[in-house]
Symmetry: C2
DNA sequence: CGGTGGAATGTTATAAGATCACATGGGGGT
DNA sequence: ACCCCCATGTGATCTTATAACATTCCACCG
């Protein structure tokens, strides 16, 4: 298993955990990766879509569609909900952004380009979200699905709890 | 369709394991179990709460809060959203009903009384929902959480795909 | 170069989901 | 009987999401 990169190292490494990292590099890296991927696959990485992804990368946390919409308005894009939802649909469909069902909110993917079944850890105190990998189809759920004849196409795996920072504050 | 339903049997519907079953017995059993559990623990299993659970058990599928509210209204209960949401809160808090985050909807628990980390299989064609057990903290997610210092309190595990019945129809 | 068609964007309106705040009622425990 | 807590009822409001339709952009073909 990948023992995680130590905090403080040269992190173009996206936030796997709740650690600090070189955020500008992280944003640039992700934007670049998405741009490349769109070029490769003939997807149109338009200004609204780019702007939404940028916002999510910069904020580095889960944002509601309407918070995103506010920023789009300020940036001179359309200000009606479909503008945000359509951009988000595109980004989600292509795996550049994930929806956190539990929060009805969205986060930039921490591993753009890699195909993956994401799992999330959501801090119920500060709402921070960290992305991890999951393999739900390999465990009890996969077995149940096979037994039932259910074809899994997509999984939502979200763990709610307390992140290290908030746990520390609570104790302190 | 329900080709192997027994003639004349009480309603047997496709369902929770995506299988057919004696639904009246299933409802009665679950209601009894919940009633017993409430008595045991000093919880107030009031008429609204009972009605909501009954509805969910009878329908045997995921229902939105407003669909539930409609039925409450018809049954002579209050007709404002908080009526439904409060009953649902009670049922969810006590594990008698689960919320399907992906659908913003609710299903009766298939294993009332057993403490469990539920996982769900959701058919994207017919919206049928089956409950299974999961052990998300034991797999990759659990490892990631430990590595990150994240304390998991609760998990949402939902698989989206195609149920056997719908798969069969599609191949048709 | 001009036309054409599909995708993307913009806008209005409305549906669906969830919560706040406050008033009322019912049942135990002293 | 009284009080208090909990549950219920109600109105208003807030957030999240989609339907429907007009307009614009752009790649592609002739």
């Amino acid at each position: 298993m990948t023992s995680d990169a130590q905090p403080g190292a040269t992190e173009t490494e996206p936030s796997l955990g709740f650690q600090h990292h070189d955020h500008r590099a992280c944003v640039d890296h992700a934007l670049g990766a998405v741009e490349a991927r769109c070029a490769e696959e003939g997807l149109r990485f338009t200004p609204v879509r780019r702007k939404v992804l940028e916002l999510l990368l910069k904020e580095h946390k889960a944002m509601g569609a309407y918070a995103i919409l506010d920023e789009l308005r300020e940036a001179g894009f359309g200000s009606q909900p479909p503008v945000a939802y359509r951009a988000l649909d595109f980004l989600v469909d292509n795996g550049f952004v994930h929806k956190i069902e539990r929060l009805n909110a969205f986060v930039a993917c921490a591993h753009p380009g890699e195909s993956h079944a994401p799992a999330f850890m959501i801090c119920r105190v500060c709402d921070a979200v960290a992305e991890a990998h999951s393999a739900p189809a390999k465990g009890a759920l996969g077995a149940a699905a096979r037994a039932a004849g259910f074809q899994i196409e997509r999984t939502v795996v979200e763990a709610e709890g307390v992140c290290p920072a908030c746990a520390e504050k609570a104790e302190g």
